[in-house]
């Protein structure tokens, strides 16, 4: 199937998610689609798969202009999309998941579904058991089932969105072989949307790079990584000289840490962060840098290794009431034995024994309940310990993680201040937030709800709410959504903290920012952290190689 995109545009208000993109896809080839988050890849693929309609532009299918009313309409015309998060039904059986919306017959044909699943699975080397629940499978297996379904429904043109994120190496190998076979033997067309240059190099015949909604160019593979990185991040990478800073003693030490989540495993991280030092974490989004930051903040527990803040690990605190459930159990057991003895010696009737045990169960239950409440009140999570020991963490999700929607700036100030009093001193809180509103240049009033602030102002508000002095400051995209002047101002404030001895570790998708602001740089690629390089000794070329997953010297 031959597909041509002509001048596709998609505007969301002022934002130009896709700005005049024209591409041609020929059968029997694998195309890569590269670009940073927000470059417009997903929007373009949503348009091509019928999820969204373009603002303007034409899609030609074998020379004929088409429009898709829905994803299922696109699939009927031969275009199938494999979403990064498989669009399946975890609580259903694999066979049910396969049959859902498969045809318009009244009765479900389970034997046929199982046969097709097994048959197609065998053809591609997938091991599919149709009689288990989808939720018991790994992400890679769910992907395989979804792929089989799309092929069974006649997809000639496949879009795979970040298919290797979160799947095992073997599954990746199987997937790649399948993709090659589909293209070589069955003349299908595949688009691989990816962050990983390595995979694009390994698999694709041709790659298109998007940046800020525009097509930056197409390249035939093989093509040097540095050229692709240039296209993705722009040509104008520059470096300003910065004053080297005298660093003090070690604040944060990570020793051979392994951090594991459902999607990604980061292994063998070793690093040391000193007072007054700024460490920048570069890499394509989702390569593991965020996991490291969260682990350092005590939000994730490393599976292996240690993370030390000022020489001590973040463990949280066990409640002094941890024994209450055991007390409840012991009491109940004692009463049951006692009642049984009384009954067997004839001092109690059966009914009295039952009553006595029931009463004991009631008391034990009450002890358990009160105990659980006490435990949850008196124990301390590692993250709270992190905060108490002078840690600050600013997450990327502003309204999801950083701020509480529905509360005003003043109320946030009360929540953020280190000393908690039972009765709130509103006047003091208002004065304090007013000071910070001015200092951080926030367009808003103390009584403004945080969700009413613009994105940039929410960002500034999160930074304004940090306490000082801090021992360590962990930042995710600290200046995302800010204009150049505000970004400079924010970094000036970080510089002041740095002089107070705060160690800073930050993630940024902006290579300029990393090169300009860090003392040292670590690059993440697919869960692997590169060796840490001195900013003054590195080059854009080297970072490009590292981001692409090559461990260069």
């Amino acid at each position: 199937m031959h597909i041509e995109l002509q001048d596709i545009r998609k505007y969301f208000g002022e934002v130009r998610a896709n700005d005049g993109i024209s591409l041609v896809f020929e059968p029997g080839r694998i195309y890569g689609l590269l670009g940073e988050n927000g470059a417009g890849k997903s929007t373009l693929m949503k348009i091509l798969s019928g999820y969204q309609a373009p603002t303007s532009g034409t899609i030609l299918l074998d020379g004929q202009p088409v429009s898709f009313s829905s994803p299922s309409d696109a699939l009927r015309k031969g275009i199938g999309m494999l979403y990064q998060d498989p669009q399946d039904f975890p609580p259903l059986l694999v066979s049910e998941n396969y049959l859902l919306a498969y045809d318009d017959n009244l009765l479900l044909d389970f034997p046929k579904a199982e046969e097709e699943l097994r048959g197609l699975g065998e053809r591609f080397g997938f091991h599919i058991d149709p009689r288990v629940h989808v939720e018991t499978l790994t992400l890679g297996e769910r992907q395989q089932i979804e792929l089989v379904r799309l092929l069974a429904l006649g997809a000639e043109f496949l879009i795979l969105d970040e298919p290797t994120t979160g799947i095992s190496a073997e599954q990746k190998e199987i997937l790649f072989n399948t993709m090659r076979r589909l293209v070589n033997e069955e003349q299908k067309t595949i688009i691989l949307v990816s962050h990983k240059l390595e995979e694009v190099q390994e698999l694709c015949h041709e790659v298109a790079v998007l940046r800020r909604g525009k097509l930056m160019g197409t390249k035939d593979i093989p093509c040097p990584n540095t050229e692709l990185v240039r296209l993705m991040f722009g040509q104008e990478l520059k470096r300003s000289e910065r004053v080297p800073f005298q660093t003090g003693e070690t604040v944060l030490r990570v020793e051979d840490a392994t951090i594991q989540t459902y999607r990604l495993t980061v292994e063998g991280i070793d690093l040391e962060l000193r007072e007054g030092e700024v460490l920048g974490l570069a890499g394509l989004e989702g390569s593991g840098q965020r996991l490291l930051l969260q682990a350092c903040a005590g939000l994730l527990q490393p599976r292996k290794g240690r993370i030390l803040l000022d020489g001590k690990p973040l463990e949280g605190k066990r409640s002094p009431f941890f024994w209450t459930p055991w007390l409840a159990l012991a009491f109940l057991a004692f009463r049951i034995v006692w009642a049984a003895i009384q009954f067997s010696s004839g001092q109690m009737s059966g009914l009295e024994m039952a009553g006595s045990i029931a009463a004991a169960a009631l008391i034990a239950g009450t002890i358990w309940l009160i105990g659980s409440v006490l435990i949850s009140w008196t124990s301390q999570t590692p993250y709270h310990e992190f905060q108490q020991r002078g840690g600050g963490y600013v997450p990327a999700g502003r309204l999801e993680e950083g701020l509480v929607a529905g509360l005003t700036l003043t109320e946030h100030m009360v929540l953020a201040s280190p000393e908690h009093t039972f009765i709130i001193d509103w006047n003091r809180a208002r004065e304090e937030i007013n000071r910070r509103i001015q200092r951080y240049n926030i367009i808003g009033q103390p009584d403004t709800l945080v969700e009413e602030l613009s994105g940039g102002n929410q960002q500034r508000a999160m930074l304004a709410l940090l306490n000082s002095p801090l021992r360590v400051l962990l930042l995710e995209h600290p200046t995302r959504g800010l204009d150049v002047t505000s970004a400079n101002w924010i970094w000036e404030l970080f510089q002041q903290r740095r002089e107070e001895g705060t160690a800073i570790m930050f993630i940024s998708a902006d290579l300029d920012e990393i090169l300009e602001r860090s003392d040292r740089i670590a690059v993440f690629s697919g869960g692997v952290m590169s060796r840490i390089v001195q900013t003054s000794e590195t080059s854009v070329e080297e970072l490009g190689h590292l981001i692409g997953g090559e461990q260069h010297e």
Partner: protein, 337 residues
Amino acid sequence: MNDAQIIRLLASVIAQSAPLMLAVTGETITERAGVINLSLDGTMLLAAMSGFVVALKSSEALATRGIDGDLLPVLIGFGSAALIGATAALLVAWGSIRLKQDQVAIGFVLTLLLADIANFLGQNYTRMPGPSVKHLPIPFLRDIPIIGPIFFEHDLLIYLTFVIVGFSWWWMYRTQPGLRMRGVGERPESAFVRGVKVNQIRYAYTAIGGALVGLAGAAYSLDIKLGWSDNHILGIGWIALAIVIFGGWRPVRGALGAVLYGVTKTLATQLQQSFPEVPVVLFNTLQWLLMLGVLLLVGSNAIKRLVDIAPKPLQRPLARALRVAPPQALGQAFLED
């Protein structure tokens, strides 16, 4: 107690549980499509009242035209009750899907409102005799020892209940529309990608479930607990909601839950006769404690361990039978892009 008495007791448990089974099946269908309809209690009251009054009025009207017999009035009564149930349920769905309001909030307010409306509109019809469903044993089947007298010496409504429960199971697990309905309740965005019309399906199954709840209400006033009085069956709707959870959102297990509820209730009455010195209320709490215990047990690790020590070929069906999980998108409105 002799055998005949026990059989009679069980038969009455089945009959008493039938309306509850209908309500549980209806709400199970609604919730499996992803809509939580908390207006059950009020809906059932209003349906019971209007079912009774409509049947009464139409029997009077038909009598003046020389048409006698209860069958037609009773059918009209059930029809109006089903209509009321479907309308109340659609209100919840509409408030959620169109007005984007919270389903729980709408359901709560609606249940209080409908209960009061029922008492207000029904105040002139309390404690009146009226038409009722005719007793109709099934020939031949009734002669089967033990099973016959327990299951086949009832009336049409109760047989219909069995059929509805079985049909819902078949529809949900063996047909394409039923599978789509479950998909919509579990993950509407995936269903949407596959071309399923999510909100259309939700409206349809909410209405069908609501109609069954309406029938359940009328089943009380026209069959099981005849007539109408203030707050005639107050609380039954909440019990039905609890049994939906107990049944793990499955029709057959929900129906069994309704029977189990009837059994424990009867058991409580019997126990109370055996231990007259124990206060009545204590035995009434028993059924809830039992239900709570079973729920905790099913949700705990004990079941997982039990499955692990079971023989290999039994493990999978056992685990499947003991699964309890609410539909994942229950109570969440789906916004199409």
